[in-house]
Structures are given as structure tokens and as C-alpha cells.
């Protein structure tokens, strides 16, 4: 047997789903990180651009100061100082702005702070003193300007600016490169991850197909075969999971079903055999009893004929013998009929049921007339039946309907038929004495009588014979009745066209 995992399917499916979820989650996280990095890069690139702009503005302010101071020293016209004064007021704010814009890079921040210090020195140690000097001693101020101290300071500051700008641009480029690389990698990972997820999904599908769907389908097929009567249907049950349990359960169920059917078949055969023996016995016994009975009644006749005078008052006894013998013969005849009924071949032919009813009524013409019964026959179908058998049934039912009438009430008998699927239900309805519903089953047992023979004559074998004939035709017979309200006997016959 193939070695299998001892993990239940639920756990395996959970594990697979979890793996797929983790994969998808990881891919998502990587993509989110990449997008965030890209966005941060864009944001900081924008910030860097702003820093560059702020630096340029600051440089411009410095040049404005220097040019203003130079112009003022050369000309002593205050109007040269106006833009310089404005720049002198605004530059500290510009330095703060620049410093705050580069605060994400310590090196750049140090550079910005250095530049701020140099600008402060330039302003406090050069520009402002020079303006003051120019007010009091313009000639001295002019000689100082010639030394170009301001230009030198500005050159230094501009060199520092250049280095700050270069570094900032390098930072922008590095960030953009990094972000681009990151997003390219993220896209690659994302695509790879998605492919992997698809692969895993395909794997899961295949796995489920192979290890869940196929075994279930196998069990379903076997169930179908089982339902169709093939009790030998079994499924392989070597797995150690829920499907293994299902397969084992199925096999156990099939085993038990097969055992039950075997037992049933066995008892059925037993029953048939004993039934046949019983019938055989009844038939043989009845047949063998007929000969001595005939002898008894013959002797009774001889006694009556030859010794009637000698008997004196003994003639009544001989009558008793003759009557009892007649009764016994009737009983034996009925018994024989009963034991023959339902055995032997059915001579099936298509017959209009009205013909059968007509024949039965013909046979019963005497009693019907005697009882002043009124018989009504509805439309009846053509059926495929054994003529003698069904005729016997109709005759028996109609005869009963006439016989079990309420004294003083002429019997009303109605015969008809309804279609019920591929069967016809033929019914015989009367207005007779009816019966208790609890007796409705028992009256089909042999020799079962509800009334004394004095009230209603008969051996009580008729309905039992009807039951056997209808059963041999594949139909059934039953009665619905209430005491004093009449009865309705029904039996089913296969429709001729079915």
C-alpha cells in the first residue's frame, strides 16, 4: 500500500490556503513597500528641488547685498542700499528655510549650517561694517572695497553652495536610482510572486482533483451501482483521512446490505418452499379425502334406498350423514380450488372488462333476481388478464355485494374502473351491511367469516381465492367500508396497453 500522509484533508487544505495567502501577502507587502519608497523618493526629490531653490534665493540675496554695499560705497547713494537692506532682513529666514529643507541628511545640514555661519560672518564682519564705514569715512570704505574681502568671502560661500547643490543633486539622483531599482525589483518580484501564486493555485487544484474529487467521484459511482442493485460495489479504502473514512464507511454499508439481502433471499426461498409443500399437502389431502367421502355418501344412499323401511325413525340420521358429507365435499372442493388458485400458467389475453362483468352477471342471474338487486355497470377498460380467473373474482365480489345486503333494502351494486398510473383500479360498490374497518384485512384470509353460516351461507374461501388470483396478475385487492354503509371492493389490473 502506498504510504500516505496522516494529516486530515481539512488541515492540508488549510495549510495550502495559508501558504497561498502568505505568498500573496508577501507580494502585496513588497509592492506596497516599493510604492511607498517611490512616493517617498518623489516627495524628497521635490524637497530637494525646494532646497535648491532656497539655496539659489539665498545666493541671490547675498549678491544683492554685496552689489548694494559696493554701489553705496562707490556712490554714497542710499537707493543702492534699499535692495541690500531688504536682503539683509530676509536672509536669516532663508537660511532657516534651507537648513530645514535639508534636515533629512546630516551632512547637508552641517553644510547648510556652515553656510549660514559664513553668511553671518560676511554680513556682520563685512557688509554692515562697510556700510557704517561708508557713512563716516567714504574714502576709507572705498580703499577697503578694493581689497575685495567681500568678494573673497562670497566666493567661499558660493563654493560651499556649489558643494551643497552638487551633494543635493547627488542625493536626488541616488534616491531616484534607488527608488527606480526598488520599483523594478518590486515589479519583478510581484510578477514572479503572481506566477508562483498561479502555480500554487494550479497545484492546489490538481491536488484537490487527485486526492479529494476523484475519491469522492469513485464513492459516488459505487453508490450509484449499489443503488442500481449491484451489492458487490466496493471502493479502495487505503487512505488515512476523511475520504478514507468515507470509503470504509461505504464498504461497511455495502457489506451489511449484502448480508441482509443474502439472509432475505434465503428466508424467501425457505418460505416459498414450505408454502409449496403446504399447497401440495392441501391439494393431495383434499383429493384423497374426496374418494372416501364419495363412498360414505354412496353408502348413505344405499341405506336410504334399500333399508328405508327398516330404519324407522333412523332416516333423519341418514339425512344428517348425507348433509355432513355434502358439506365436507363443498369444503374440500373450495380447498382444492384455493390451493390451485394462483398456481399454474395464466392464459393472458386482451379482453374488454365489460364482457367479463357480463359473464359474471349471467352466472349470478338467479341470486340477483331473487334479491331484487339493481346492478349498474360503468364504462370499463380493455385489460390483459386470465379470463377465467378475473371472471371468478368479479363473480365472487358481485355475488358478495348481492348476498350481504341489509334485510328489507334491495341491493344496489355499481361496477366501475379508474385509471391509476399504468394500472386500472376496478371497483365493486354496494349498499350492504359493510364491516368494521379493522376487519378489512382479515376477510382476505382463507375460511375467515364475519357472520354465521345461518345468516349468510358460504365457506369463506372466496375472498382468499380472489386475493391469490389478483396477486398472480401483479395487482392487489382491498376493501374500504363502514358498518351499515356499504362496502367498496377494489382490485388493480395492469392496463392492456401498458
Amino acid at each position: 500500500m502506498r504510504r500516505t500522509l496522516r494529516t486530515p484533508i481539512t488541515t492540508r487544505v488549510l495549510l495550502l490556503s495559508a501558504t497561498a495567502s502568505v505568498l500573496i501577502g508577501a507580494v502585496m507587502v513588497i509592492l506596497i513597500v516599493a510604492v511607498t519608497a517611490q512616493r517617498n523618493a518623489a516627495r524628497s526629490a521635490f524637497r530637494s528641488q525646494e532646497a535648491l531653490a532656497a539655496g539659489n534665493q539665498l545666493e541671490k540675496s547675498l549678491l544683492t547685498i554685496e552689489n548694494g554695499v559696493r554701489g553705496y560705497v562707490a556712490s554714497r547713494r542710499e537707493k543702492f542700499l534699499d535692495p541690500a537692506n531688504e536682503a539683509l532682513t530676509s536672509y536669516p529666514g532663508e537660511v532657516r528655510r534651507l537648513t530645514s529643507l535639508v534636515d533629512d541628511d546630516p551632512g547637508q545640514q552641517a553644510r547648510a549650517r556652515d553656510i549660514g555661519g559664513e553668511i553671518d560672518d560676511y554680513v556682520t564682519l563685512w557688509a554692515r561694517p562697510l556700510i557704517g564705514l561708508a557713512r563716516t569715512r567714504p574714502a576709507s570704505a572705498r580703499s577697503v572695497v578694493i581689497t575685495n574681502g567681500g568678494r573673497e568671502r562670497l566666493d567661499t560661500i558660493q563654493r560651499d553652495f556649489a558643494s551643497l547643490f552638487a551633494r543635493e543633486r547627488a542625493v536626488i539622483n541616488a534616491r531616484e536610482d534607488r527608488a527606480e531599482m526598488g520599483s523594478a525589483r518590486a515589479i519583478a518580484i510581484g510578477v514572479g510572486g503572481l506566477a508562483l501564486v498561479l502555480l500554487v493555485a494550479a497545484g492546489v487544484t490538481l491536488y484537490l482533483r487527485r486526492s479529494v474529487v476523484r475519491p469522492v467521484v469513485t464513492v459516488a459511482d459505487a453508490t450509484g451501482r449499489l443503488a442500481g442493485g449491484d451489492l458487490s460495489a466496493r471502493v479502495p479504502a487505503h487512505r488515512h483521512d476523511e475520504l478514507g473514512d468515507l470509503a470504509r464507511g461505504f464498504n461497511a454499508m455495502a457489506d451489511s446490505l449484502q448480508r441482509s439481502r443474502d439472509q432475505l433471499e434465503h428466508s424467501n426461498a425457505e418460505l416459498k418452499r414450505s408454502n409449496a409443500e403446504l399447497d401440495q399437502f392441501a391439494s393431495v389431502t383434499s383429493h384423497d379425502l374426496q374418494a372416501p367421502l364419495t363412498t360414505i355418501s354412496m353408502y348413505a344412499e344405499l341405506i336410504e334406498r334399500r333399508h328405508a323401511a327398516d330404519l324407522n325413525g333412523g332416516m333423519a340420521l341418514v339425512d344428517g350423514i348425507r348433509g355432513a358429507t355434502q358439506e365436507a365435499r363443498t369444503l374440500i372442493r373450495d380447498l382444492l380450488e384455493y390451493s390451485r388458485a394462483g398456481r399454474g400458467e395464466l392464459a393472458l389475453e386482451e379482453i374488454d372488462a365489460r364482457d367479463l362483468v357480463a359473464r359474471a352477471l349471467e352466472a349470478l342471474a338467479g341470486p340477483i333476481e331473487e334479491a331484487h338487486a339493481h346492478v349498474h355497470v360503468d364504462d370499463l377498460p380493455v385489460v390483459r388478464v386470465d379470463r377465467a380467473g378475473v371472471c371468478r373474482v368479479l363473480q365472487n365480489l358481485i355475488g358478495n355485494a348481492v348476498k350481504f345486503s341489509v334485510p328489507g333494502r334491495p341491493p344496489e351494486v355499481e361496477i366501475g374502473a379508474d385509471r391509476d398510473g399504468d394500472m386500472w383500479r376496478v371497483w365493486v360498490r354496494d349498499n350492504g351491511i359493510g364491516m368494521d374497518p379493522k376487519d378489512a384485512e382479515r376477510i382476505f384470509e382463507p375460511f375467515k367469516r364475519l357472520h354465521g353460516e345461518e345468516a349468510y351461507p358460504g365457506t369463506g374461501i372466496g375472498l382468499a381465492i380472489c386475493e391469490r388470483i389478483i396477486a398472480q396478475h401483479g395487482g392487489r385487492i382491498w376493501v374500504t367500508s363502514r358498518p351499515g354503509e356499504g362496502s367498496e371492493f377494489s382490485f388493480t389490473l395492469r392496463a392492456a396497453e401498458a
Partner: protein, 301 residues
């Protein structure tokens, strides 16, 4: 050095805490700001700045050195504006170019007293002057002197044509410059060629100028390749160095600061300055190293 400054600040803060009548505890944020020392725009000044800075820092007062600010005119203005606390100044230049005093007193103490008198109303103090004096002077090459028989400044008048003088730009407008030379000697055939201090020796060597405005403590003069013209009428005054300091700074750091600065100034003799100038200007040694070596030699660091 920043650590030292912080340590001192912390110590001062602790001392403040200990004082029973201190109304509130001092914190590092209350630490005294550094003393801002400025220097003018030539090597001797850089040297003086380093010497004062290192000596003061060695005694635990933080210093911020602003070197190479410019000539007296501008650095004095910066001091007046409050952008500086102190800078070493040459008394003669201060008097003639800032205070506009043209007289040349013979007594060595007189200029110092006059300078003190000038600065006092401006809330500045002149600290003790140095023993050395770095005078301005005119120098020529020996060859040029021989050709024109030059010994003193007035001899320049005899030279036909223009005498080109290599000098810092302020030479043009200073009394200790073309103004004084014309006034005292009637020297009108001289023209100043403005150039950065220090580069006039090279200009003299190459013949681009005929004479150069120099400092008597310049290391280059020790080589004997240049001749200094005598100044019989005293256009160039004595130039002892005296640190000018704001009274507010003096008050802020207490008498200790004045004592340190004075002890340094007293040791700045002419031989010491010339030696240090030569080490910086000719031997190309780092100014800070030369200053540190000097202070250690004097037991000040």
C-alpha cells in the same frame, strides 16, 4: 576645545548653583557665549589671533576666532557694530587711521594713553601693549637703492618719473601711506599699486614695483635682500600691539580674562614675533602650531 568649553560651562553652572544668593539654578543654556576675537588680513595678525585664542582657551574661556576680516578701518567698524568682542590692533594705525591723530609723540607711553582716551568713550578698553612694535616702512631692493643712491624716504623725490609702491589698498588713503608721505616729505611722484599684503615682496623682486610698503617684523626682511628707507620725519608711528576689547566682554568674563590677555601681550617681544613670522611666512608652518609652540615655551599653555 568645544568639550573643554562645555566642561567649563558646566563647572560655572555648578558654581552658580552652589551660591546661596543665586535666585535660580543656572543651566548649560545660560553658559557664557564664546569670546569673539577678530584679526586683520595679514599673517602676523593671524598669528596674534591664534596666540590669544589658545592662551585664553587654555584658561577655560571659550573663544571664537574670526580671522582675516580686513584692514583696521573695517575691523574697527565691526568691533563698534558689536560683531566682535576683541581684536589685536597696532596703536599707531589706530591713532592715525581710526582716531585720525597725525601727531607723532616721541615718548613710548604717549600713543597708548591717547589711544586709551580715544576708545574709552566708545566703551572699549585698550589692554596692555606688547613690547614689540611692528612699524610700517618702505623697502626697496639693494640694487635700486644703489642706482638711485637711496638711504631715506625723502631721497625718493630725486627719482625722475614715478615711484611705484606696492602696498595694500588702504595705503592710498592712509596718513601712514601716500597721504603722510606727501604731507611730510612732499613726495608727489609716488603711486600706490594696490595688492594683497604679503605679495609686495614678489612684486619688488620681479620689478613690477620700485618700492614696497612692509612691516618691520616681516620675516622676509631678515634675509638681507631688501633695504628699509629711513623715516626721519616719522610718518610711520610706533606700532605696539594692544588688544582692543569691549567693556561688556571684560565684565562678562571677569578680571581673569584681562590677566590672561595681559600676560600674553607682555611676552610678545620683537625677536619672538620676527621668529614666529619667519616660521609662518618663510618656513610655511601652520599658524596654530607656531602659536601653540610659543605659548608652551612661555608656560602659558
Amino acid at each position: 576645545m568645544r568639550l573643554a568649553a562645555l566642561a567649563v560651562a558646566a563647572l560655572l553652572a555648578l558654581a552658580g548653583c552652589g551660591g546661596s544668593d543665586a535666585p535660580k539654578p543656572s543651566t548649560v543654556a545660560d553658559a557664557k557665549p564664546p569670546l569673539r576675537i577678530g584679526t586683520k588680513n595679514f599673517p602676523e595678525q593671524f598669528l596674534l589671533g591664534e596666540i590669544y585664542k589658545q592662551a585664553i582657551e587654555a584658561r577655560g574661556v571659550p573663544v571664537e576666532l574670526k580671522a582675516n576680516i580686513g584692514s583696521s578701518e573695517i575691523i574697527h567698524q565691526a568691533l563698534t557694530d558689536g560683531a566682535l568682542d576683541m581684536y589685536p590692533e597696532y596703536i599707531g594705525v589706530l591713532l592715525s587711521e581710526v582716531a585720525n591723530v597725525r601727531a607723532r609723540p616721541k615718548s613710548p607711553g604717549a600713543p597708548y594713553r591717547r589711544a586709551q582716551a580715544f576708545e574709552a568713550p566708545q566703551v572699549f578698553a585698550m589692554l596692555a601693549p606688547s613690547p614689540f612694535s611692528d612699524q610700517n616702512a618702505l623697502a626697496v631692493t639693494p640694487a635700486y637703492a644703489r642706482r638711485h643712491h637711496l638711504r631715506a624716504i625723502p631721497d625718493l623725490k630725486r627719482i625722475p618719473g614715478t615711484v611705484r609702491i606696492g602696498a595694500p589698498p588702504e595705503f592710498q588713503t592712509r596718513f601712514e601711506g601716500l597721504v603722510g608721505l606727501a604731507e611730510r616729505y612732499g613726495l608727489h611722484n609716488a603711486k600706490a599699486r594696490a595688492m594683497p599684503i604679503g605679495s609686495q615682496y614678489a612684486a619688488l623682486d620681479s620689478g613690477r614695483v620700485d618700492a614696497a610698503a612692509v612691516f618691520t617684523t616681516d620675516g622676509q626682511l631678515a634675509s638681507g635682500r631688501y633695504v628699509i628707507l629711513r623715516d626721519p620725519r616719522g610718518v610711520f608711528g610706533t606700532q605696539h600691539v594692544s588688544p582692543i576689547i569691549s567693556r561688556r566682554a571684560l565684565n562678562r568674563y571677569g578680571p581673569k580674562l584681562r590677566a590672561i590677555i595681559d600676560s600674553v601681550s607682555r611676552r610678545l617681544t620683537a625677536p619672538a614675533m620676527q621668529r614666529m613670522n619667519a616660521q609662518v611666512q618663510i618656513d610655511r608652518r601652520a599658524t596654530a602650531d607656531v602659536a601653540g609652540e610659543f605659548l608652551r615655551g612661555q608656560g602659558l599653555k
